[in-house]
Amino acid sequence: MDELTIRDTYTALGLSDFEYDRILELMGRAPNYLELSLFSVMWSEHCGYKNSRPLLGRFPNDGERVLQGPGENAGVVEVGDGWAVAFKMESHNHPSAVEPYEGAATGAGGIIRDILAMGARPVALLDSLRFGPTEGDSPEASRNRYLLREVVRGIGGYGNAVGVPTVGGEVVFDASYSGNPLVNAMCVGLIRVEDVLTARATGEGNLVVLIGSKTGRDGIHGATFASDELSEESESKRSNVQVGDPFTEKMVIECCLKLLEEGLLVSLQDLGAAGITSSASEMAAKGGVGIEIETDKVPLRESGMEPWEVMISESQERMLAIIEPDKRDEVLVLTERYGLVGAVVGRVADHGELRVLHDGETVGSVPAEYLADAPTYEREVVRPEYLDELPEVDLNKLPEPESFNEALLKLLASPNIRSKHSVYEQYDSEVQTNTVVRPGADAAVMRIKGTRHGFAVATDGRGRHCYLDPRGGGTATVLEAYRNLSCIGAEPVAVTDCLNFGNPEKPDGYFQLAECIEGISLACEALGTPVVSGNVSLYNETERGAIHPTPIVGMVGVLDDVSKHATLGFKREGDMVIVVGD
């Protein structure tokens, strides 16, 4: 390749000149196309957290109950009686903007697999949603209605079928999300304290087994796509969107839990963005070992796939397991029993590289730690001008409504306040029979069968507040979640978050990100609720500008006696009504 074509190639893959030079320096040679593809997906914002990693270090992560903080597939906190919950939130904003049903469905599927990768049984889903205004006849409103309808159908279509109850969430409408909806899904899983897994490959000679679906050309370069701004052009990248299959996911869950119960796995990792590449390189980097993948051993759905396509395919409903060689037959019998693909596709090696082989020949090899260590960008935090230009509002100068009753009814009917039952009635909130408090309350309450213990969970976000006052809004988001849990009678213990922001390369976006993180951190420190997992979704911008900075907080609380919880609603005539606080 001459220099110009090389530049075109890496640019098309989403790598900058600086990043390409860094690759040359690290490798000490020019990478081939496959190797370049590996870098491009692993160094995307989505996988590499290039813009946010330095800022995320600010979050407090430690606490008495924390068994696993950030850095694994999900955070884990202890509940009591030897039980723990694993939880995490993740965004699927871009895929949902383009193909709302499948985007939302695969979002739910992806976060469920993150929880499964910890060894936990997924027991609850929540969905935090943002859309543009849906009222009126404009094409925009009708598009927003379509997005709302299909996203909700997608979450339900996946969650209901896979048998994980959707027990809470939010729906908020604001013009800043028009054309860029937010779809954040959170999953909570239940696990015995001693069974918590890490995604760490160990043991030279151990086998790498792919479990789940066949691999197709789904979402090739999806991770790069997720880190792009939405534009006309992204419409043409539509073939990137994956289709979910909750039926197979259900079998993947049952199969993996059975494999763990039988003690057949060394390690487990889900295949999310960047497919085998990210799972294998992360497992290798964490374990300080190498992994060899034989792409011709990967069962394919489509013929003629190139090794690089196999490596970065984002086909859903797949997990990667590390097993000891003598467990091979037992593992494959079980995958077969659950009707799944089970294929030995590689092995753990001592060379520290992610090495790709095809028909016995090495077609690419990169030290796993390089892939796992994307360059990060720290920028100057500059206070944006818009904050000084915000109009001052004096609440005392607002006119009093003529009729308070009418004003109240109007408020209650407004999209952001009115009941969301039309949404959550499309979700099975009770399957698994652990749901003690269903949607419609401040938080969901779940029991842990066989114990008196339970946990409560809620999600909250305050985009407009964060726009007007990023730090204060970040703090208030945590406080709101904390109040929701307190009201229901739970002791809040830890937080997961999903940071939905605009372009961090623009000063406004970076400032908002940094300040919201500061605000969240201050609140979490004060309340003793560490951040144990999270996800970042940047570049949420359309031609019309950025969304409101919208960090979503998912908070988990514990109840020592789950029967002692409060529910909404006045219970008896004559009871007293008391206001607590300021």
Partner: protein, 222 residues
């Protein structure tokens, strides 16, 4: 003697564990019946639980009815054994022609998950014997295809023969005659859309469904 209640497990069943939990609460012994095994393990009754067997692909229940275990369930049913289909289980039994009619998509075209008051119309089935005739049970529904359909003649016959076992007081899905559950001619096979196993545990605030799950113990004289 402990009554043994078999619960079928198809790929995609997702209320199987819930049904087992509820059965255990009645004092009976739950027994897992794996779809691929043509073996009922000598159980005294069978529950075909809810979920999305085979992903509900093609039509809910259409593929599950051909699972190996279903041949045995059909034989057991023909011999008069008590069989209860819940939600997807009802769909499976209808597809297998163990129950008349079919379950079409909800008229709202949406999945519906809510609590619905239902009237127990008949107590002369093994799955309603512990209920009182005419009593109202508030039961959860959670389905996309629960809209009961049968042709006019079949409907008239079901009503005449007292085979509508459970009726919605607030129809959530467009079902003909507000039908929430029916039974076979022999009355031993019952299919219902609501989920009794979800309201069978005092820890979850209601035991309305335990009456249905435990009815089979009454019939067996346990």
């Amino acid at each position: 003697m402990t009554l043994r209640v078999g619960i079928t497990v198809f790929p995609g069943s997702n209320c199987d564990r819930d049904a087992m939990h509820a059965v255990a609460l009645t004092g009976a012994e739950p027994v897992e019946l794996w779809h691929a095994d043509a073996d009922l393990k000598g159980v005294d009754a069978v529950i075909v639980p809810g979920g999305f067997s085979y992903g509900d692909y093609l039509r809910p229940g259409a593929i599950a009815r051909f699972a190996n275990v279903m041949g045995e369930v059909e034989r057991f049913a023909r011999e008069g054994g008590p069989v209860l289909g819940v939600c997807n289980g009802f769909q499976v039994l209808a597809e297998a022609h163990l129950l008349p009619g079919a379950l079409l998509q909800n008229t709202s075209l949406r999945f519906v998950s809510r609590r619905v008051p239902c009237r127990v119309e008949r107590t002369d089935t093994p799955w309603t014997a512990a209920c009182e005739a005419g009593e109202t049970l508030t039961l959860p529904v959670a389905h996309n295809e629960g809209n009961y359909f049968a042709d006019e003649r079949t409907l008239a016959r079901l009503e005449d023969e007292g085979r509508v076992v459970l009726r919605y007081l607030e129809n959530p899905n467009g079902s003909a005659n507000d039908i929430a559950g029916v039974c076979s001619e022999g009355r031993n096979v019952v299919g219902i859309m609501p989920h009794p196993e979800r309201v069978s545990d005092p820890d979850l605030g209601s035991e309305a469904g335990l009456k249905i799950i435990s009815s089979v113990l009454v019939g067996a004289g346990v």
